[in-house]
Symmetry: C2
Amino acid sequence: MERKIPYKIYLSESEMPKYWYNLRADMVNKPAPLLDPETKKPLSAKELSKVFCDELVKQELDETTPYFEIPEEIRDFYKMYRPSPLIRAYCLEEKLQTPAKIYYKFEGNNTSGSHKLNSAIAQAYYAKKQGLKGVTTETGAGQWGTALSMACAYFGLDCKVFMVKCSYEQKPFRREVMRTYGASVTPSPSSLTKVGQKILELHPGTTGSLGCAISEAVETATNLNGYRYVLGSVLNQVTLHQSVIGLETKTALEKYGEKADIIIGCAGGGSNLGGLIAPFMGEKIKGEKDYRFIAVEPSSCPSLTRGKYAYDYCDTGMICPLTKMYTLGSGYIPAATHAGGLRYHGMNSVVSQLYADGLMEAVSVKQTEVFEAAEYFARIEGILPAPESSHAIKVAIDEALKCKESGESKTIVFGLTGTGYFDMYAYEKFHDGKMDDYIPTDAEIENALSKLPNV
Amino acid sequence: MERKIPYKIYLSESEMPKYWYNLRADMVNKPAPLLDPETKKPLSAKELSKVFCDELVKQELDETTPYFEIPEEIRDFYKMYRPSPLIRAYCLEEKLQTPAKIYYKFEGNNTSGSHKLNSAIAQAYYAKKQGLKGVTTETGAGQWGTALSMACAYFGLDCKVFMVKCSYEQKPFRREVMRTYGASVTPSPSSLTKVGQKILELHPGTTGSLGCAISEAVETATNLNGYRYVLGSVLNQVTLHQSVIGLETKTALEKYGEKADIIIGCAGGGSNLGGLIAPFMGEKIKGEKDYRFIAVEPSSCPSLTRGKYAYDYCDTGMICPLTKMYTLGSGYIPAATHAGGLRYHGMNSVVSQLYADGLMEAVSVKQTEVFEAAEYFARIEGILPAPESSHAIKVAIDEALKCKESGESKTIVFGLTGTGYFDMYAYEKFHDGKMDDYIPTDAEIENALSKLPNV
């Protein structure tokens, strides 16, 4: 059947965004500033630039400039895998027998397998422009480390990745992809850093954590000449770069005369969600158009739905800036049985402020229902989704089924952030019936929240 | 920089082929007919239809119909991941400092990760149309099994995959993808078939072979009501379906006023190569345009460059039809150190005839140079290629470097058949310096060829 709207909407290169959109410029209540973890005073650009690249510090702190031009070198790189397709889920709609129209923005069609590359290439570019030798970072599941390795290979930068030890051992193939792109990958905690040595001394058998890997990467960057630390989520510079997702989505919908009613994104640190919703949220804040936004988080790491909006540490070593955000406490670690990513204790400060202001909703979902949705989707739409992305799939299906009941023909848009090729271990557990759901008790969350810094 | 030709050329849905092209209709010397392995007489459609679906038997035997309409249901499925992009390798050209223009047709942007899906969906469609319950097949590296699982899930067919045992054990994640799509996956040899039982009795510790898995799949299909056997390469029906690759490539090049000079494809059973070159070869045969075609095979399995053009068995159990093809003998098994796929002993009969007629060239390449090219390409073009596809990359780079020497601005087109996400074990061996090259001795090849059937 020939349809007016194709399965896959690909914008042309000339329709690609030339600017990132900085939602903060249009927000009425701005997110709270970053604080020095020792003095509890707002951090200056100068202080931040010991850790981050100069240009990225500017982007991090800028609350007034609505648009940042995307440098030509980055746009050239984007053209290697962007514009990403906006896909009309005709097959899913038919299977669900829903009057809803479902679209998803698919960010998995690049070798890193996720949207992380959108910010990785920007951060690598600014590091190169500053004349740096290389960058350091941490990676948990491995998507960010892979993306950064690709970006560094492109610009000829050295890339040192601290990979959470259990992930390093369970996902040797993720590690090999990074090595293919020339990165050095070290299991964390390691004996290469003071913070790593200390943790190994205190907990000889530890399999590591994201917070510890962050501390190791920051320490390494600050001790090496010509290195800076880069981060794949949580920061405002990251959601700025990720606005390319939302901008393309908006252009593609407008091209076909469609208007989204509900926009859904999975939420870990907020990088994809913040980028996807940015231009739509801008319209909502300015009163131009109305949308429902839904953040979807795992019930085992429910920072928006059960966390507290407060200043907290970003890392275990407590050396990173304090951020005001929805948090479960920097000591909160999701249960070991949690397989599907999105395990950060906090949330991007822009997303946090929007949620605090009632401009968006949040729901939490259990991991077995997420994998059920993932497998269902894979069989119908032909894409094997990452567990993270499948949180959004689950809620998009739920909303489409509500439309079926009510008979409403709403337009639902969700972010399909990546592919699940490196998550087959989790799929295997699901197939073998060995996956369970963990929901933290109130006491557990209260305990973790009791250690928030006094600000 | 804004360029006249974009990085990625995506045809619109309306520009997608509506017909597959049957190159045999335009060939002067037709490929030799399939023979019954017992009587050595040409096989009738009736005999073949005990093993294959009726419609596929027709396609297999038809030497006169130049175009087969692609059924609407298949075109609808194709739209979920096609048209695939034809990518202009600007970054690679710049890195090589070559005046050559390099294009590649990228077939890896679907969940099965390779071009195999183009034929899998067609074969599943005809099985469904015939009212069958399911299909059986074998898989080695796993690309074909994955593609068939996806196709069967889409049409609600049962799918039984016999996976070569060593691959089943080394690639558990490939297996999980197939399970995600609802296929049952059995390590071969198994105790489920007579041929499997016999092999297990004779060789208790065997890790299996492709020829054995084929025999098991054929036996299972012929013993079950409502099942047929399907195959992902070698057959003419497969290259017919894969002509969609060449047809899209040709349309995309013509749209931008480009004419290929050299067309390069990797060659295992010939499914990708046959499909990629088909419409261009048709023009060459008819004297309309001239092209150089280069088939690239591994030096450890050099059927075109060192094999014999003769009738041979397709499987170890010798129950499949005899095919006239370039072969190393059905008993030939590439060295265990060979990591990169393309390990079939024979070659599609159309490709074989074209090569015998001097219409195309063939070269063999060593696996370490293939992985060097793969890593080089990944870092520059951002796509992590499958080892199979990387054979074509290696020779495309070689040809581009020849242009650099001669100063000629040739247009080189190659097929990038898939991604390497499930081949990181081989990449790891390469990174760790544990990969070596194996080139069979003349005596080894003569020995395997001495067991050709007497036709």
